[in-house]
Amino acid sequence: MRAMYLANYFVAGCIASSFLGWIASLHPIAFRAITFLASAAFTVWGLCWLLDFSVSSLLKISVSSLQAFLLALLAAGAIGAGVFLCS
């Protein structure tokens, strides 16, 4: 059951990523805003990946859990964006 709820949240992340793509396709200004948001999120993601020990102690979770979460976030974003772009 734990796997089910993790899978559901992962699917929700994928759909949210597709939804951001859909918003970006509405207007050029929205596209720029989403591009800025995505680049900022990616920067934060990279910092978290590099500073994994500090961030894990800050969030009081294990390093492996943080890395799993970051990888799942990246995969969900990539899958959601890929689905939207390929459709």
Binding site: N8, V11, I15, W22
Partner: protein, 185 residues
């Protein structure tokens, strides 16, 4: 609950993929429908995730309860085993300690002793009586030996019974026993 979760999960995936692939982005209302279905898909996925998390937590609680019940049962069994072992030890000590058992048996009224169903207590009482008889015969033998050596009555009573001559009840009892033993022998 599980069925609801599975339906919501399937609905989320369907609402995510089908409108994106089936509808045309260049048509206005198609695009609007895509946006709506994506919002609905997010809602379905999050709801399904929450239900799955609740079920997972309930499963963990049930597992904890089961472990606690198992631990309680084990504790109860080990406690009862310990208590029964202690009882057996006490019974064994009572059997191996005849003096205490004899005292207890002698402390009982005659009727209780007669009614007492435990044969070991009777045996211990008989052993105690035998011991008293042995002690008496030893005293008689010792008194007769001293008398044969030519000792006087008062000296024999002092030596064997440890009571000096006088009008005390102990001396009188010892004297009576001396007479009974020596005259009887």
């Amino acid at each position: 609950m599980q069925l609801k979760m599975f339906v919501l999960s399937g609905a989320a995936v369907a609402l995510w993929l089908i409108p994106l692939t089936a509808l045309d982005k260049r048509i206005g209302w198609h695009k609007s429908m895509q946006g709506l279905t994506l919002c609905a898909a997010i809602a379905c996925a999050v709801t399904a995730g929450n239900i799955a998390r609740e079920l997972s937590e309930q499963g963990e609680i049930e597992a904890i309860k089961e472990r606690a019940i198992t631990a309680d049962v084990i504790d109860e069994i080990s406690t009862s085993a310990y208590i029964s072992q202690q009882q057996r030890l006490q019974e064994a000590e009572q059997i191996l300690n005849p003096v205490e058992a004899l005292e207890r048996a002698l402390a009982l009224p005659d009727a209780d002793v007669e009614r007492s169903p435990k044969p070991e207590i009777k045996q211990l009482a008989e052993n105690g009586q035998n011991g008293a008889l042995n002690e008496e015969s030893e005293r008689a033998e010792r008194a007769l030996q001293l008398r044969a050596k030519g000792w006087g009555k008062a000296k024999i009573i002092l030596e064997v019974w440890g009571v000096s001559k006088g009008g005390s009840p102990k001396y009188k009892a010892a004297e009576a026993e001396y007479k009974r033993l020596t005259e009887g022998g």
